[in-house]
């Protein structure tokens, strides 16, 4: 699989640097579709604005809310999309969301072996490693070894469930609430929940050990 993430240098979109062949292609396709009135002139910009509001911070808030509000948690686990739509979080097309609850008996993680399905409406765009061969090849075959590479060790008496996304369903892992957080506010709780915890490759951070992702 490609190692583009090592070779790729992010290029700012301004100035005199010639855009890449592919950026030129993207621009040309977009402009032609707008000229032919198949897409509206402002639609891409509007979609970018929608995308910018979907980041792991949104997911962290949802997890924190589920930790403090048992009734919300129950509804979230019963129907992820419907419960989040009530909060104003909309989803594309027929996408569904299943929230996978981690417990002391079950640890969930999420992968897409066929492509790169990911709960983008909640977490935004996925990290490169999620889309690259090692994770996608090994998560379904040796999840414990994969988790160990993230520093996550799951005891043998805990069942690992790997969800391989193949349909319109997307998955968000609801990590276990860390010990010693009984008096935390929702904001403090959200700070313990990283993107990687919501993919299921790490647990939520312990208090005082908040990580950036």
């Amino acid at each position: 699989m490609s190692t583009h993430a090592q070779a790729h240098t992010p290029v700012p979109d301004a100035g005199d640097a010639m855009p890449s062949y592919y950026e030129i292609m993207e621009t040309a396709v977009r402009e032609l579709l707008v000229e032919k009135e198949l897409i509206g002139a402002g639609e891409i910009r509007q979609m970018l604005e929608v995308m910018d509001t979907r980041t792991p911070a949104l997911g962290s808030k949802i997890v924190a809310r589920a930790w403090v509000d048992p009734e919300f948690r129950t509804r979230l686990l019963a129907n992820g999309r419907a419960t989040l739509e009530e909060l104003g979080i909309d989803f594309f097309e027929n996408t569904q969301l299943i929230v996978l609850e981690n417990t002391d008996k079950v640890h969930n993680l999420v992968v897409c072996t066929l492509c790169s399905c990911y709960p983008r409406e909640i977490l935004g765009l996925p990290p490169d490693w999620y889309k690259m061969k090692p994770y996608r090849a090994r998560a379904v075959k040796e999840p414990r070894a994969v988790l160990a590479e993230f520093g996550t060790v799951i005891p043998d008496d805990v069942e690992i469930r790997v969800s391989d996304s193949t349909s319109m369903i997307r998955f968000l892992v609801l990590p276990e609430r860390p010990e010693g957080t009984e008096n935390f506010t929702e904001e403090q709780l959200a700070a313990l929940v990283t993107r990687d915890a919501m993919i299921g490759v790490v647990k939520a951070s312990a208090p005082g050990k908040e990580k950036s992702r």
Binding site: M1, S2, T3, P10, D13, E26, V29, L114, L125
Partner: protein
């Protein structure tokens, strides 16, 4: 069984269970054109001009060498071009001319 059958039976984009090395814990900040490409995909799907499943199929149809060597969004935009040609929404010549026009804007403004 002919050895080439496996190339057809297993899509180049399918990774589950293959032998692979250690995780590559890489992340990069998405370039603006990559985000625009993602936005384009969403808009095309909403309009049902190219749905998400067609995009996936189009990416696999690039074949194993391109799937391996092109980056994620590079695969997307080439697949979109091909699918739009198949659907007679765009024609190869018109896209090629438009690409020249776009490139020329930058040559015109670049300092020598």
């Amino acid at each position: 069984m002919t050895p080439t059958e496996n190339l057809v039976k297993r899509l180049p984009t399918e990774m589950g269970g293959l032998d692979a090395g250690p995780l590559q814990r890489v992340e990069h900040e998405y370039a603006p054109w990559e985000k625009r490409c993602h936005a384009l995909a969403n808009v095309l799907d909403i309009h049902k001009i190219v749905n998400t499943e067609e995009k996936r199929r189009g990416i696999a149809a690039l074949g194993s060498e391109m799937v391996e060597k092109l980056t994620y969004y590079q695969r997307w935009i080439v697949a979109f071009a091909n699918i739009l040609f198949e659907k007679r929404i765009l024609a190869p010549e018109e896209l090629a001319r438009k690409m020249n026009e776009v490139a020329a804007r930058h040559s015109a403004t670049s300092k020598c």
